[in-house]
């Protein structure tokens, strides 16, 4: 976690595959995630449709083809956990992680693996566990398993760490204002 905490800004491409009971086939999405410590995270999806989720502190902006929505979500809100658990990991906030989850950590020469089980009752009703794996300061895979059998596996690649964003670039990436597209 200490490595994450010192790894600065992160940009990575992602491919997420969701196995949902509602769907006949896995739902695959691809895009880019960008993180700027301490609390800015943008998840821009390029395929199949274009959408964005931008988190800035407690503020979450969601934009897709149907419109634009800004939410203020507090620490206790289950929706906040779904959305910014990745940000908590990337900023290496061990304390926040332990507050929210029971944490178990394993590592060997091939990499590390983190197993998280939610502590809060409302979250436990929905999330069975979250596992994350990577190498060094790079997060390479994250899997969320839900209590109803649904799951989501996200693979990260072309991971860049130690990035610094100039104000113009940061504005473009993390803007929560309504605009035409991601």
């Amino acid at each position: 976690m200490a490595r994450f905490a010192g790894s600065g800004g992160v940009r990575a491409r992602f491919r997420e595959t969701k196995q949902l009971a509602l769907l006949t086939a896995p739902l695959e999405t691809q895009g880019v995630v960008v993180f700027e410590p301490p609390d800015r995270l943008a998840r821009h999806t390029m395929r199949p449709g274009r959408s964005s989720v931008v988190v800035h502190g407690s503020r979450v902006a969601i934009r897709d083809e149907t419109g634009h929505q800004i939410l203020e979500l507090d620490e206790e809100d289950p929706a906040r956990h779904f959305i910014d658990s990745l940000a908590v990991l990337l900023r290496g906030d061990a304390e926040a992680l332990r507050e929210r989850y029971t944490v178990s950590f394993q590592s060997d020469e091939t990499g590390w693996k983190l197993e998280l089980e939610p502590r809060s009752k409302p979250l436990r009703r929905m999330i069975a566990s979250i596992s994350a794996g990577g190498r060094g300061a790079q997060l390479l895979r994250m899997e969320v398993r839900e209590t109803n059998g649904d799951s989501a596996v996200t693979d990260f690649f072309e991971v860049e760490t130690g990035l610094e964003f100039d104000p113009v670039e940061a504005q473009r990436i993390f803007s929560v204002e309504d605009r035409a597209g991601p």
């Binding site: 997420e16 969701k18 949902l20 009971a21 509602l22 769907l23 006949t24 086939a25 739902l27 999405t29 998840r43 999806t45 199949p48 449709g49 959408s51 989720v53 502190g57 407690s58 503020r59 969601i62 897709d64 083809e65 149907t66 800004i70 939410l71 203020e72 979500l73 507090d74 620490e75 206790e76 809100d77 289950p78 929706a79 906040r80 779904f82 959305i83 990745l86 409302p122 929905m126 999330i127 969320v144 839900e146 109803n148 649904d150 989501a152 929560v176």
Partner: protein, 779 residues
């Protein structure tokens, strides 16, 4: 001497008894409805004005800006203020419990709240193309990180009806509602706290205490933060504070001025106490009569009535000045006898002009007239019967009294030798009236009667802009005999106003419709779903084609076949996170009103047109309503002034049996009133309702000036005593009423300017009347 002492005792005892009687029975009303026109429209106006003190007015918005700690500071401030005795409710955000409350309220009722126009909306919703679009949208939402929540509700709500309901709720709330971290402004830069007020926003004591406590509690909150406030109460407190400041300052000025005047002229403050005795007695008598009626006395009637009875201060001044200037040792009752005819005629004509006011069809104005018409004769009776008992023997004039009397004699003598000049003065007055009256502008906009600090207004505007708030003074009332009929009409009003928004007659509406529909409309939704052929199959087929597993949405079909909840009723919202929205559904007397607040009304006519044909739906612009009431009062007052003037003219003609003398006695009232208005016209100074009512005072005093001037006869000594009495009366009036012209508040300033100008003009005209009347009296 013993009998005079008895008169003094009886007078003071009577005054004390009247005061005690009034104090024991007085019940003051402050209801604005008492001042409404007694026309058929009055019910709507009454309903509209009752909403001046509506729940929306009983609300404050606190905007906290600064660093990221503002959200925590807002939560802390909200918690501290929650316990405040003047705070009815506090809203600082939706917590997880509140969201769960919304789910419980609306999820099981989603099929009732799908379309505001179910007969065509639901068939459209269930067309294959639309279903395919909804399937794509659901897929997109499942692709988002928050899909865990969506995937749990989607089987029972594939069309996203609950989400649409939440979006409606969000749009219907004044601020950006969150699901936990508090309310924030549109730009996210401010954390907001909404407060409900327990007392009226116009309750100075309660609201000034609350505002002070808010500032103190905010000072205790950590962080380098700013606090900005919005609320009717804040403006009302600032305005009242300004009025009180003005009144304190003006009272000191007036009391100092009158005391100095009486000390200079009479060399005695006792003279001042004696001079105010008749007016106080008149006020006590009028109050005692008013409190004997079963209906409560209105505060405005009491205030304006007191001012009208103030004209009676002229009577003791005449008595005291004439008595002082009489021969040494003249008994006071002889002095009174020498001017009794003038006193009685003055009192009678003034009373008649107030009686005319009492005939107004506006109840508030009528009450003021009756009040004054009772008080003036009472004051006159005290002046004639009791006042002599408080005076010593005559002949004790001070040097200044003698000087003033002498200069008045000289002035009249000088003017007598220049009859053309004497005749030219009234003509000059008439010329000013003729030139100015066509240019006169009436001002009925209620906003111009009060001023608030521009910085406060700007702050209020800023805060309201941050939450995209509505204009609390503009709304649509949907009236019904019960809550359901009001809601039924409100459903239709919402649809019409949505069209008005689309056609830019209106920027936005905040309607109860965002949260609650009529039972009828809700049942129509269910019927429309049930009437859709092969609904379950169609949804299943279309969603399956979109990649969803067949049979996933049977829960939705079950919810339509056998809903697990009844349609939402107003009482279901009680105790819920949305309880406050019920503030917009009010029972007023026997009727129910659903209130839709508006923002950015481009044209009132446009909104009225949008509501055309909806019986019971009324667009209300409170400023417009109050403006119309003011205009009604102004017009009625002018009519009654004209009627009073005609009656006074007739009485003067009957008394003098000489058209010229009767006309001259009439001049200082009617001509002065017209010249005052003409002068305002020439100067471009608009006249409002308060200024118009103040003209009644000018008329009442002016007729006294005319009668005394005409009655002064050809004796130089009597002329001197009369004109010097008029000068003292005029100065007293200027100190009492004229100093109000120094006020920062337009309403008070208007009383001061109108009364001050009027009595000064009446005084200027009096020597000419004196001269012209004496010339005409000669055989």
């Amino acid at each position: 001497m013993k009998s005079e002492a008895r008169v003094r005792g009886v007078t003071l005892l009577l005054l004390a008894a009247l005061g005690l009687y009034s104090a024991s029975r007085i019940e003051l009303s402050h209801s604005i409805t008492h001042f409404l026109p007694s026309s058929q429209e009055s019910e709507l106006v009454e309903l509209s004005l009752e909403l001046v003190d509506s729940p929306l007015a009983r609300r404050m918005v606190l905007a906290i800006g600064g660093g990221p700690e503002r959200a925590a500071a807002a939560a802390e401030l909200a918690e501290r203020l929650r316990e405040h005795p003047e705070v009815d409710w506090v809203e600082a955000g939706f917590d997880a419990d509140a969201m769960s409350g919304l789910y419980e309220l609306y999820f099981d009722r989603r099929v009732y709240l799908a379309s505001a126009s179910p007969s065509d909306g639901i068939p459209q919703l269930l067309e294959v193309e639309e279903l395919a679009r909804r399937a794509d949208r659901l897929l997109a939402r499942l692709a988002q990180p928050s899909s865990t929540l969506v995937s749990r509700t989607a089987p029972e709500d594939p069309l996203g009806l609950f989400d649409a309901m939440l979006a409606r709720i969000r749009s219907g709330r004044p601020a950006l509602a969150s699901s936990g971290a508090g309310l924030t402004s549109r730009d996210g830069e401010f954390s907001l706290v909404l407060l409900g007020l327990r007392s009226s926003p116009f309750d100075f004591q309660a609201q000034s205490g609350l505002l002070r406590d808010i500032e103190q509690e905010f000072a205790r909150v950590d962080g380098d933060l700013t606090l900005e406030l919005s609320g009717v109460n804040r403006i009302a407190v600032a305005t009242e504070r300004s009025i009180r400041g003005d009144v304190d300052f003006i009272s000191v000025m007036a009391i100092t001025g009158v005391c100095t005047l009486f000390l200079l002229v009479f060399r005695s403050l006792r003279a001042l106490l004696i001079a105010i005795l008749p007016s106080m007695s008149g006020f006590a008598a009028a109050t005692a009569v008013a409190v004997s009626f079963p209906t409560p006395l209105h505060g405005i009637t009491l205030g304006f009535g007191f001012a009208l009875i103030g004209v009676a201060i002229d009577y003791p001044i005449h008595v005291m000045n004439h008595h002082a200037l009489s021969s040494a040792g003249t008994p006071p009752r002889d002095s009174v006898r020498s001017i009794r005819a003038s006193l009685l005629l003055s009192g009678l004509t003034t009373t008649l002009s107030f009686v005319a006011l009492a005939l107004s069809d506006l109840p508030g104005l009528g009450d003021m007239g009756i009040f004054a018409a009772v008080g003036v004769p009472a004051a006159l009776a005290v002046s004639v019967l009791a006042l002599p008992a408080f005076l010593g023997p005559g002949g004790g004039a001070t040097p200044l009294q003698r000087h003033l009397s002498g200069r008045s004699e000289d002035l009249v003598g000088w003017l007598s030798e220049r009859p053309l000049l004497a005749a030219g003065l009234p003509l000059a007055f008439a010329l000013v009236a003729a030139l100015g009256l066509p240019q006169l502008r009436w001002q009925d906009d209620p906003a111009t009667l009060m001023t608030a600090e521009p910085t406060l207004l700007a702050e209020d505007e800023r805060v309201r802009g941050r939450i995209v708030d509505v204009d609390p003074g503009r709304f649509v009332l949907s009236l019904g005999k019960d809550a359901e009929s009001a809601l039924r009409l409100n459903d239709r009003v919402h649809a019409r106003l949505s069209d008005a928004v689309a056609t830019h007659h209106l920027e936005a509406q905040r309607s109860l419709h965002s949260f609650l529909w009529s039972q009828e409309l809700q049942r129509e939704n269910l019927t429309a779903f049930r009437g859709a052929p092969e609904l379950a199959e169609r949804i299943d087929q279309t969603f399956s084609a979109g990649g969803f597993r067949p049979g996933s949405f049977e829960g939705f079909a079950r919810a339509i076949a056998s809903p697990t909840a009844e349609p939402l009723r107003p009482e279901d919202l009680v105790g819920s996170p949305l309880e406050r929205v019920l503030d917009s559904l009010a029972q007023i007397d026997e009727r129910w009103a659903a209130v839709t607040y508006l923002r950015g009304v481009q044209s009132g006519e446009g909104v009225r047109e949008a509501l055309e044909g909806l019986e019971g739906a009324h667009y209300v612009d409170q400023e417009e309503v109050v403006g119309e009431i003011y205009e009604g009062y102004r017009r009625s007052t002018l009519r009654m002034i004209a009627l009073g003037a005609a009656v006074v003219f007739l009485v003067l003609q009957l008394r003098y049996r000489n058209p010229r003398r009767g006309f001259l006695a009439f001049l200082p009232s009617a001509l002065v009133a017209l010249t005052t208005l003409g002068l305002f016209g020439v100067l471009g100074s608009p006249v409002n309702v308060v200024g118009t009512i103040s003209l009644v005072i000018v008329l009442g005093m002016g007729v006294d000036y005319g009668v005394f001037s005409v009655d002064s006869g050809s004796s130089p000594a009597r002329v001197g005593a009369t004109l010097s009495s008029l000068l003292i009366s005029c100065l007293t009036t200027l100190f009492v009423f004229g100093t109000l012209a120094l006020s920062e508040q337009p309403a008070l300033r208007s009383i001061g300017v109108t009364t001050g100008t009027g009595v000064l003009l009446a005084l200027l005209l009096s020597p000419a009347v004196c001269v012209l009347a004496n010339r005409s009296a000669r055989p």
